[in-house]
């Protein structure tokens, strides 16, 4: 419905342009009506900006990074409230997910052997630089927290005995440190995508962080639902609902509030992925609420929440790439912005003109 009207508005302005620019050529009447919808201007229809060259590793990392953050938060809170199984699942998941993230991030580089060049600088204007430091700090802390889960398996004498005694406390401190960095880890990736010229990412900068935060919480809670016994999984259930709700609300704004730039999130592969994500989120949410007496139902809803997070991350990624590949999304909003600015200047000049002419 709204797709159609946007196209029509745009065509009518293009037709107006044609009349001005081509000296009455467009006045033929019937011709304007049969102009194909592709008649908007770019250089032979080729894209204007370059689409990201990142491979599947990067949307995969959006998921694993968020999962690590959600799991670390869950683990720290479980530690504070005395839920050892939930804590253990959270800590191990956080380390596993951040480890896989590191692999994805390094493997996606054009020159993987130079990954340490990321550590030359710390630049607030580069979300990737900030993210590198967050991932490095989080990874170290999550590592200590996860290793401390195995302290009881160490022999009780010599140096290892000392480690056996010291590790639980070190794990606790490291777990809180990881949880402290987790919100940054889950949300900086939204800034990473938004801080580009990719139209449907950039214009979504106000909504993306909430989607990513919600998706991270829901996936972390999903691990809790899968791994923790029913007696300990109460908070994971509530977190699953809160996270999925945050994610659904944010995704809805992405798909409805950006005008023409919402279109890439509704059509094509991105549209399918985001729809799948929505269905899985709702399923996981309902399962978490209704399945509180069944371990199987809880685990299944946990799986649905994890799958929802994967689908949402890939959907948002694909939507942005689609908006970069089609020059329509680069040219049309910029033209509108320029025309509005021209109208504003025109009004101001007229206003200034009228006041100065009324002066004696």
């Amino acid at each position: 419905m709204s797709e159609r009207s946007e196209r029509t508005i745009w065509l009518s302005s293009a037709a107006g342009k044609g009349r001005r620019g081509h000296d009455g050529r467009g006045e033929g009447g019937g011709e304007q009506a049969t102009v194909p919808s592709a008649e908007f201007r770019s250089y032979y229809g080729r894209p204007i900006i370059k689409a990201p060259v990142w491979r599947r590793e990067i949307p995969s990392y959006l998921f694993t990074g968020g999962l690590a953050a959600g799991a670390a938060l869950l683990a720290a809170a479980a530690d504070l409230t005395g839920r050892p199984a939930l804590r253990r699942a959270g800590r191990l998941t956080a380390l596993g997910a951040i480890g896989v993230s590191g692999y994805f991030l390094i493997n996606d580089l054009g020159r993987p052997a130079r990954f340490h060049h990321m550590l030359r600088v710390a630049k607030p204007t580069s979300p990737m630089s900030m993210g590198t430091w967050v991932v490095a700090g989080f990874g170290s802390a999550a590592g200590v927290a996860a290793v401390s889960e195995f302290a009881s398996r160490l022999p009780g004498r010599d140096a290892l005995g000392l480690a056996r005694q010291g590790l639980p406390l070190a794990g606790r401190v490291a777990g809180f440190a990881a949880a402290g960095l987790a919100p940054a880890l889950a949300t900086y990736t939204a800034v990473l995508l938004a801080d580009t010229a990719v139209p449907s990412w950039h214009e979504a900068y106000a909504h993306l962080p909430h989607v990513f935060a919600g998706s991270a919480l829901a996936s972390g809670a999903g691990v809790g639902l899968i791994a923790a016994p029913l007696a300990e999984s109460g908070p994971a259930r509530r977190l699953a609902v809160a996270g999925a709700a945050l994610d659904l609300a944010g995704s809805h704004r992405l798909e409805s509030r950006l005008g023409l730039l919402s279109e890439p999130y509704r059509v094509g592969r991105a549209g399918k992925l985001l729809r799948a994500g929505r269905i899985l989120s709702v399923t996981g949410m309902l399962g978490a609420l209704l399945g509180r007496r069944s371990r199987l139902a809880s685990a299944l809803s946990g799986i649905a929440l994890l799958a929802a997070s994967v689908a949402t991350r890939f959907g948002i990624y694909e939507g942005g790439v689609a908006s970069a590949r089609d020059p329509k999304y680069t040219v049309t909003p910029q033209r509108q912005r320029r025309e509005q600015a021209a109208v504003r200047v025109d009004h101001q000049e007229r206003h200034v003109g009228s006041t100065s002419s009324s002066a004696p």
């Binding site: 201007r41 229809g45 054009g110 204007t125 990737m128 680069t330």
Partner: protein, 348 residues
């Protein structure tokens, strides 16, 4: 070092980057009204900078067989053919039995075909090849060929007017360069001349600069893995020489010099063209108050920017970065609050 306009607005970029005694900001003024499309700039750039060739590519959409700026083409001569006169000139083709350089159908097929440039994303195909057909056949192109008699589209014998638009595109060396802002390794840096250069021994191929550029300039070389773009011949200008492309340009369409001087010269040129009846002449990227704080390489165009493949109103993405970090901070706080709320309630 961080000033009020460091992210957006008019700025002297070299001084902002920490060169207190920076020399004059250098740049290009590319006057497309005198470009003859010889592509000497493309060749000179490749020769001097030892940019790999990509073999013989025929894109089939026009006389442009480069397609776009890529990691392996740091100058790109765009070629547009339009069935309309230049200003008040009459076309040399009036009433001659000439056709366009390609038919509308060929342009559509050419534009819809992926080109192997040895780079990523290189020159990707058009999503809607119809717009290429429309470009080749003119504004009254009614759809795919066959739906109108040839005489009505002006695409065969008896065409009345034609003008060729040729433009040598290049990295804009923005005042506010998004590529430089987002580079996580410090490989991209601001030179004392106010230009933006990639250090090839630092770049690790993270690819972030590629979608950050509002002009689609930067690209990744396959096999090599790093990002490459115009350096404004940093090695030449440092010893007082002219960049290779400007040196090779036979019509002085590409002019190199101090940016202030080039801006004045461009203003005079556009006024002269207007006085001569070429009312469509306009400058692009010359305004220090535009979305990227003005380009170090700016242009005189004879049609809307998007016709040449340029964005009509580019804005540096980092203008909104403080707002982005604030939104992310809000989401992070929401996240922590949700965890606290979920755990504080006593479980049954």
């Amino acid at each position: 070092m961080v000033g009020t306009n460091s992210l957006y607005g008019p700025l002297d970029p070299a001084r902002d980057a920490g060169y207190p005694d920076a020399p004059a900001r250098m740049g290009f003024f590319t006057d497309t009204s005198v470009c003859i499309g010889c592509k000497a700039c493309e060749v000179a750039c490749k020769e001097w900078n030892q940019v790999p060739g990509t073999g013989l590519d025929l894109l089939g959409m026009s006389f442009d067989n480069t397609g776009a700026l890529t990691a392996n083409s740091w100058r790109h001569v765009a070629f547009v053919e339009q069935p309309r006169p230049i200003g008040q000139q009459s076309s040399p083709f009036v009433d001659t039995p000439t056709g366009p350089s390609v038919s509308a159908a060929a342009a559509a097929i050419g534009a819809g075909t992926k080109v192997d440039t040895g780079t990523k994303p290189g020159v990707p195909p058009a999503i809607e090849p119809d717009s290429a057909a429309w470009m080749a056949a003119g504004p009254e192109f009614p759809g795919m060929p066959g739906s109108q008699p040839p005489g009505r589209t002006g695409s065969a014998n008896g065409r009345t007017d034609v003008r060729w638009l040729m433009m040598s595109d290049v990295c804009k060396h923005c005042t506010h360069a998004a590529c430089l802002d987002v580079c996580p390794t410090g490989s991209l840096f601001r030179t004392e001349f106010g230009t933006v250069v990639i250090q090839e021994d630092i770049c690790n191929g993270c690819g972030y600069c590629i979608p950050a550029c509002p002009y689609g300039v930067i690209d990744q070389r396959e096999g090599d893995g790093r990002a490459w773009k115009c350096t404004l011949c940093y090695d030449r200008i440092g010893v007082g020489k002219t960049p290779a492309c400007a040196q090779a340009c036979p019509t002085e369409s590409i002019q190199y010099g101090a940016l202030d001087e080039l801006r004045e010269r461009a203003q005079r040129r556009v006024e002269r063209l207007h006085a001569g009846g070429v009312v469509e002449a306009r400058l692009y990227g010359d305004d220090p108050n535009d979305g990227v704080g003005g380009d170090g390489a700016f242009f005189l165009l004879l049609d809307e920017p998007e016709v040449y493949g340029l964005p009509p109103d580019p804005v540096v993405t980092t203008r909104d970065l403080p707002k982005m970090w604030r939104r992310a901070g809000l989401a992070a706080v929401t996240m922590a609050a949700a965890v606290l709320a979920a755990f504080i309630r006593r479980s049954p």
